[in-house]
Amino acid sequence: MGIRFILMVNKQGQTRLAQYYEWLTLEERRALEGEIVRKCLARNEQQCSFVEHRNYKIVYRRYASLFFLVGVDNDENELAILEFIHLLVETMDRHFGNVCELDIMFHLEKAHFMLDEMVMNGSVVETSKANILSPIQLMEKAS
């Protein structure tokens, strides 16, 4: 399993989306999110986009007010994860058109659906934007 969790957090540290690929209790999630968000938010633009935290690494990327954080195992290719984040953002961008924090907030389930297409069992399984978005578009049409 490569990816342990995916978080979207704004620059005030408020969680906007959280998807875990291993089970953590509510308290554990709260504590974890607090710790890593504090760590990542304290870093500046010049520093690496990677932070080691306990026994895994966080790869993060900032888009305007929103941080995307991905927790991965130690043997994961950090640059690839960094680009995975970008792919996710591009995909959301294609769907919402100029995606912003509010789009994700108002359409939390859609953001989750996209993630569910892209990542399963902690592995990236789909990287074609058309394939990721087609079920969502079909669902929209159907209802």
């Binding site: 520093q47 986009s49 306990r54 026994n55 792919l87 389930e109 659906f113 209802s143």
Partner: protein, 958 residues
């Protein structure tokens, strides 16, 4: 805002999201969420809620949990929603359930039925939704309920379904490998799926399977190679392109798999060379994703059977990473370097200054990664510098997790490469003092054992080691609070060796021990160690025929311990009292001096019992039947104690009731006793009687087996790991004294002549601060040294011989590889569109190479003042001499300043010897400005990787 349709949203929902979005603080957010919980609790259980409304409530529940509050009151409604007919509502229900519940939640059982039904749906989107849920919710017990359905879906006409089905199977494999062990061939089949998405997904489970069992998948090497080739040649649909790279995520996954398959397998690796080399050439090193693929190529190349051409490509890529301005690329470069130095150690040298820059970078992530690299490249010549660096870093961080890790690394390196006993002791002191109780107690025991056993060279050095340990510990005891583990070591060492060399009187040492026991009165373990140490000191005194005067504070301490609540302390105190009352002869045999390394003789045959057994047998007892001759029906452990065997006789048995013959056989000798039972029930009688008649022997067999273990522990072993260099870890300070200089030369000499040339040319125009140079010299063997003594390298010195040998071995293997490569040079590829190969084929043209010299100095401009300490490393051979003559324990606390701390021993002895070097240095200092200007130019020319599409997030940025 967004599309409406099925994703209808009420005003209420919009308001909630808005208010959460506008919350200024966590407290405000919490207040909003708590209010929301109240509302939802009220509303959600109302009757006849329209579907859409319900879906919205469920999403609000998701919000509640996401923001850290419990929403369990609504779980059941999410479960109900999965039954819905509408696809969107159903999928939202599944989503909520997967977010709320873990696989062992009680409600899962209510969903399994729905999942089963949905897996057979005609609507493939419903099937997909159910498969998503399968991947998250099915546990080991429920796998059988869905497994047949999932297997059927592997052949579903829709590729999306096949993809998810394969991932569901993957999940089952993760949860319970045995449940799908008969289905593993499906992963191979799906690898050949027509749809690239399914193929790409299949790589995930295959990667895991191959990680576990490489050999069963060697036959797939050619398939993976040809897939990778096709991907690299852009045969996949355009939709998989990402930033002009063809399916980079699939390429990366394939490279990972190839690395596993090619590791240590020459034949498999040879099949990969062509395609990996091709990717090296095709990667666009100006984009992040191109670099990600390049990095994966480097990882692959450094894992598979090595190939000189590919190693060259990898080295080039690494130098591009390290020279980049991007911290991300530097990080990847350092990591890649750490992988590559395992096979070509000389590569580290050309990047020494870049590595030092990273080490001194304020970015903590980069610094850690660099320390990790240093850890990997530690050898006996640079261990002091590296461990000092690591300890410095360790002192300055609060992260206990990492502190523990780095402490254990320090210990490991110190054990493996310690140049001298004193250094080892001092390093361990530092680690213990700063990492405190985070250090594994095993480490402490190891240290005690080392001090007791010494390096095994000769008695003199061993006792010197002990004296220096005692000395430094007495010194350290003056400091404030010490961690418990360390105090235990100190007490033990003081007890064993405090008075051994006659330097300190018994009353001085005992006084110190009493101080420890008093100062750490809340720590029982430390107190126990202290009492035992006191006992030893007094015993040695008595044995030596001296009169023992117990200090008053010691006496009061003993009185306190005699009445202690801890029985252990009491016992020890009574023992001390008893020992003091004995005469010299008795004491000597109880507590022989310096006997802690003696093996305790264990009589495994328990011969002292023979007489007793003989008697018993003569009196009619049954002889002991060894375990392996007994019937196979009962576990050996059942014989061990009465209780156990009785419960096991009554509990469920899983072994079949068979082997009656053997039972009868073993019962034959028991007939006389068995006949006393009225109804002979075979098993219990058998068990009990055997047990009764063999009490003594079976107990003794037990004792024998545990003693056997003990004995293994006691067998004298060399401490520490010696995997890398048996010679260095045990090397005495004397051999180091003469060899160290040559060692360093060897290190530099392993680099090829080209590097030397670049160095020489760089030297002429580049100013490198002396500190950096010195650090580089001590880490990498020194570039300055390669100039000074270029020819001495062929003498292979003892401590470094392993390094040299290794590089020789590698070279010869490379030669073989290159010969092979020449013969199987791949035929010209028609599909290769003549990509610009100049770049990698002729690395000398590489602009980066030419800029290499210019880039370095920028970050080191800070100062060139400290000329004095330059080149101290050249003098390092004499450190050992200093160490052996200096009394131990004078570790100077004031040396904590990084650089002076690093150079401390050399600085001390360079007072006389390095004036000529100073001159050389100051003459180099003039070009500073010049090189700065050049560097600025280079940066302008744009070595920085381009940033992603700037227009993409206009909205976000605006």
């Amino acid at each position: 805002m967004g599309s409406q349709g099925g994703f209808y949203q009420s005003k209420e929902f919009l308001d909630l999201v808005k208010s959460i979005g506008e919350a200024r603080s966590k407290a405000e957010e919490d207040r909003i969420v708590l209010g929301e919980i109240e509302t939802l609790k009220r509303r959600i259980s109302e009757p006849d809620i329209p579907k859409r409304k319900m879906k919205e409530y469920i999403i609000r529940l998701v919000y509640v949990e996401m923001l850290g509050h419990d929403a369990s009151f609504g779980y059941i409604h999410a479960v109900k929603m999965t039954h819905d007919n509408s696809l969107l509502v159903k999928r939202t229900g599944y989503l909520a359930v997967t977010l709320f519940l873990n696989e062992d939640h009680d409600l899962i059982i209510l969903i399994v039925n729905t999942i089963q039904k949905d897996l057979t749906s005609d609507n493939y989107l419903v099937v997909c939704a159910a498969l998503n849920a399968v991947c998250k919710l099915i546990n080991e017990e429920t796998i059988p309920a869905v497994l047949p359905l999932v297997v059927e879906l592997l052949a579903h006409p829709k590729e999306a379904v096949r993809k998810k089905a394969i991932m569901a199977l993957h999940r089952f494999y993760q949860k319970s490998p045995s449940s799908v062990s008969h289905l593993l061939s499906n992963f191979r089949k799906r690898l050949c799926d027509n749809d690239p998405g399914v193929m790409g997904a299949t790589l995930c489970p295959l990667f895991e399977l191959i990680t576990i069992d490489v050999n069963s998948y060697k036959d797939l090497v050619m398939s993976f190679v040809s897939i990778l080739k096709q991907v690299a040649e852009r045969r996949l649909p355009k939709a998989y392109d990402y930033h002009q790279m063809p399916a980079p995520f699939i390429q990366i996954k394939l490279l990972k798999i190839l690395a596993l398959l090619g590791s240590g397998d020459k034949q498999a690796s040879e099949n990969m060379y062509a395609v990996v080399g091709d990717i090296f050439k095709k990667c666009d090193s100006s984009s992040n994703i191109g670099n990600a693929v390049l990095y994966e190529c480097i990882c692959c190349v450094s894992t598979i059977y090595s190939n000189p051409k590919l190693l060259e490509f990898a080295a080039d890529a690494i130098s591009r990473f390290l020279k980049s301005d991007s911290h991300n690329l530097k990080y990847m470069g350092i990591d890649a370097l750490g992988r590559l130095i395992k096979i070509s150690p000389e590569i580290a040298e050309q990047h020494q200054l870049a590595v030092i820059d990273c080490l001194e970078d304020p970015d903590d992530t980069l610094k850690r990664k660099t320390l990790e690299l240093l850890y990997k490249m530690t050898k006996s010549t640079n261990v002091e510098v590296i461990v000092d660096r690591m300890i410095d870093y360790m002192i300055n961080i609060n992260d206990n997790h990492y502190k523990t890790e780095i402490a254990s690394r320090c210990v490991e390196l110190a054990e493996q490469f310690a140049p001298s006993n004193q250094w080892f002791i001092q390093t361990m002191n530092k680690v213990f003092m700063h990492a405190g109780d985070l250090v594994n107690t095993k480490v402490a025991h190891n240290l005690m054992r080392l001090i007791a056993e010494g390096f095994g060279e000769d008695d003199d050095t061993d006792s010197q080691l002990r004296s220096s340990a005692v000395e430094s510990y007495l010194h350290i005891l003056g400091e404030s609070k010490l961690p418990s583990v360390f105090l235990q070591v100190i007490c033990w060492v003081l007890g064993e060796y405090g008075t051994a060399d006659g330097k300190y009187s018994a009353s001085y040492i005992t006084g110190k021990l009493c101080d420890v026991a008093e100062a750490y009165s809340s720590d029982e373990t430390v107190k126990a160690y202290a009492v035992t140490a006191l006992t030893k000191i007094y015993a040695f005194e008595i044995a030596a025929g001296r009169k023992v005067d117990m200090l008053p504070e010691c006496q009061s301490l003993m009185e306190e311990f005699l009445a202690s609540h801890s029985t252990d302390l009491q016992q020890r105190a009574y023992e001390l009292q008893a020992v003091i009352g004995l005469d010299a002869h008795a004491v000597e045999s109880i507590m022989p001096s310096d006997a802690n390394c003696e093996d305790i003789e264990v009589d495994k045959n328990l011969s002292f019992l023979t007489g007793y057994i003989q008697d018993s047998i003569e009196n009619g007892a049954q002889p002991y039947i060894p375990e392996n001759e007994r019937s196979g029906m009962l576990k050996i452990s059942n014989f061990r104690n009465q209780d156990h065997h009785e419960t096991s006789a009554h509990s469920l048995r899983f072994e079949a009731y068979e082997l009656p013959k053997q039972t009868v056989q073993s019962r034959i000798p028991l007939t006389s006793l068995a006949s006393t039972e009225i109804v002979p029930v075979p098993e219990p009688i058998y068990v009990r009687e055997i047990y009764q008649t063999t009490t003594v022997p079976s107990a003794s067999s037990d004792a024998g087996s545990t003693e056997l273990k003990l004995r293994l522990d006691g067998v004298q072993k060399k401490w520490g790991r010696q995997t890398h260099s048996p010679a260095t870890s045990t090397s005495s300070s004397t051999s180091q004294k003469t060899d160290n200089g040559i060692t360093q030369v060897d290190g530099s000499n392993t680099s090829n002549s080209r590097t030397l040339e670049t160095y020489d040319s760089r030297k002429q125009q580049v100013e490198i601060t002396p500190e950096k140079q010195k650090l580089a010299a001590s880490l990498f063997g020194g570039s300055s040294k390669s100039e000074k003594k270029p020819a001495t390298g062929h003498k292979i010195s003892k401590p470094s011989s392993h390094i040299v040998e290794r590089s020789h071995v590698r070279k010869s293997s490379l030669e073989i590889a290159s010969e092979k490569k020449a013969s199987i040079q791949p035929p010209p590829d028609l599909l290769d569109f003549g990509e610009p190969t100049v770049n990698s084929a002729a690395p000398s043209v590489d602009p980066f190479k030419e800029l290499e010299g210019l880039l370095e100095p920028t970050t080191q401009v800070d100062s060139a003042e400290n000329h004095g300490s330059t080149a101290a490393a050249t003098k390092s051979p004499d450190i050992m001499g200093l160490y052996t003559e200096t009394p131990a324990g004078i570790y100077n606390k004031d040396d904590s300043d990084i650089l002076s701390g690093l150079s401390n021993p050399p600085v001390r002895n360079m007072l006389g010897g390095t004036r000529s070097m100073q001159v050389a240095q100051s003459s180099k200092g003039r070009n500073l400005k010049n090189s700065l200007e050049k560097d600025a130019l280079v940066r302008q020319m744009g070595v920085t990787p381009s940033s992603p599409n700037p227009n993409l997030f206009k909205d976000l940025l605006g």
